[in-house]
């Protein structure tokens, strides 16, 4: 072992306590990471090849072709970014501005509204270090970190002994899961701390908790045991430092954020509560912050190629732009929309000139006009990234690679346009 600590980019927890052993420019051992993190850092078994029109190509001709595609497009789409360093994201934003592109990321159809509300100071947030040292009531709402962020409970939210939580989970912390199914995380919280609610009932359940917190009888249309809601409200009221970890289950179930705003407002009237979005991809939040700094919007932007002005709105989201077939070329960076979007929406990508930049082969790459392999972030390339709680984390390069970083590739495409 090198005695040095590295960062895992397997999810937006960006665990920074990883030790590694290397052999032939590969990581032979990865210590302290979870299963998913080890697999991420060791790299995939089917790396992406550099190709143009399905034939092997050298990097120079791939970059020339990619630049030509973007230059000739009237309304290109640049999508991905969650698995790129902040430095690469900033170049990508510049590239979008130059080419009058739509630019978007996964937050557009997941945690976007929550991150946006946090950046606009509409929701009270804290860091994961605060959670580790202070949190005594932790609520996983529509979130299952045991599967999505495997070290969340052990590093921050439940098991560790923090400065003000020396007795850890045994005595000092209460973890609660609110979900539509008994997830792995719910099992850890045990039956008394698991609140199973019907599908799409999250907003109503929030209102019921607000009633409980206000000393009223909490009624629900699905007849949830009132005593249990009152118990929950009581635990929340007594919290010294409470945190709600917002998962995708909650985000997808809320049609608007108003019920969540109301709940947080009430909680902070009678108690002390914070909220952290359970961001998936390691630097999704970084993209949101970088685009926000440049345009005032976190995602769903279309640049005007002449004025450089940013237009924002649902019609500029990756999903609507593809559905409406308003894009005529696409550059995908560190993402696989043909896997991760509804196929009925993503299929249109196969009808237009498509460029993929990624360390690994994926479905979108198999349908791309140009594929350019890039160095794996946090292993073969360094940079900075923003953790789910907004803390900036430095990524170090561990081993050399023949591939350029996505930042270098994007810079070269930009120069060639």
């Amino acid at each position: 072992m090198t005695g040095e600590y590295y960062v895992c980019t397997g999810c937006a927890l960006l665990c920074d306590d990883i030790e590694v052993e290397t052999e032939d420019r590969k990581l032979s051992k990865v210590h302290a990471a979870c299963l998913k993190g080890v697999a991420r850092m060791k790299g995939c078994s089917d790396p992406l090849e550099c190709t143009v029109d399905g034939e092997k190509a050298d990097i120079d001709s791939a970059i020339t072709k990619a630049a030509a595609i973007l230059r000739n497009a009237k309304n290109p789409l640049i999508f991905g970014h969650g698995n790129s360093s902040s430095e690469a994201q900033k170049i990508s934003i510049g590239l979008a501005k130059k080419t009058g592109a739509y630019i978007d990321d996964t937050s557009s159809f997941c945690q976007g509204p929550i991150v946006e509300a946090i950046l606009q100071d509409k929701l009270r947030t804290c860091t994961l270090d605060d959670v580790r040292h202070k949190a005594d009531v932790i609520i996983f709402w529509g979130a299952d970190p045991s599967n999505s962020h495997p070290r969340h409970l052990s590093r921050y939210s439940y098991f560790p002994r923090g400065k003000e939580r020396q007795r850890g989970w045994e005595e000092d912390r209460t973890a609660i899961t609110i979900d539509i199914r008994k997830s792995s995380t719910a099992k850890i919280c045990r039956d008394t701390r698991f609140y199973q609610i019907p599908m799409s009932a999250d907003a109503e359940f929030m209102d019921a908790i607000v009633s409980g917190l206000s000393g009223k009888i909490p009624k629900t249309s699905f007849d949830f045991d009132k005593k249990r809601i009152l118990e929950l409200a009581n635990v929340m009221k007594k919290a010294k430092f409470g945190v709600i970890c917002v998962g995708l289950g909650l985000v997808y179930s809320l049609e608007e954020l108003e019920p969540l705003f109301k709940l947080m407002e009430k909680l902070n009237e009678v108690s002390n509560f914070y909220l952290i979005p359970m961001v998936g991809q390691y630097n999704m939040r970084g993209f949101n912050q970088n685009l926000f700094a440049e345009t005032g919007f976190i995602n769903r932007v279309k640049f005007n190629s002449e004025t450089g002005n940013a237009n924002h709105g649902a019609e500029n989201s990756v999903v609507e732009a593809l559905k409406n077939k308003s894009v005529d070329a696409a550059l995908i960076i560190g993402s696989d929309p043909l896997s991760s979007l509804p196929l009925s929406v993503a299929r249109y990508l196969t009808e237009i000139p498509l460029i993929t930049i990624d360390p690994c082969q994926n479905l979108t790459a198999t349908r791309s006009t140009v594929t350019i392999p890039c160095a794996l972030g946090g292993v073969e390339a360094g940079g900075t990234a923003v953790r789910m709680d907004g803390v900036e984390i430095e990524l170090k390069k561990i081993v050399e690679s023949d591939n350029l970083s996505d930042k270098e590739i994007l810079t070269r495409i930009m120069e060639a346009i």
Binding site: A39, F109, N147, K182, S317, K323, L343, S344, C360
Partner: protein
């Protein structure tokens, strides 16, 4: 050839809830085209009552379809203590995404986690491969 071959397999309507699984996610990091990723992704988890309605056994393949697409995946018991007839679970994957409706009401957000399908025994048909989706 059994007589069952000539009978239409019963078809039932179900709601699909998608979820994440760390083992499937790990397999994805290694290779999206690997056997392991298919084995852990191309699966539908059913309530015992729904399994018997479909007249299938655990491990049989089923056709899952709606107006947006069709996939053949393996049927498994969900293993949840509480019964959940009418609701089935699929891990978030390219297979579930074949079935996610494109309807968004202009919001830019598809209903990834909650949509309707019909399910029917596939009478031994093979699981849809990732490249055939």
């Amino acid at each position: 050839m059994g007589f069952g071959q000539f009978l239409a397999a019963p078809e039932i309507k179900l709601k699909i809830v998608t979820y994440r699984d760390v083992f499937q996610n790990t397999a994805q990091e290694s290779s999206r085209f690997g056997e392991e990723y298919e084995k852990l992704s191309a699966v539908i988890k059913l309530d015992l009552k729904d399994i018997s309605k479909l007249t299938i056994k655990e491990g049989d393949t089923v056709i899952v379809k709606n107006g947006f697409g069709k996939v053949v995946v393996k049927a498994q018991k969900s293993g949840y203590e509480e019964a959940h007839p009418g609701i089935a679970y699929m891990v978030n994957s390219p297979w579930s995404n074949v079935l996610v409706p494109d309807e968004t009401g202009g919001s830019g957000v598809p209903k990834f986690k909650n949509f309707e399908v019909t399910v029917q025994g596939a009478k031994g048909e093979k699981v849809t491969g990732i490249r055939a989706l």
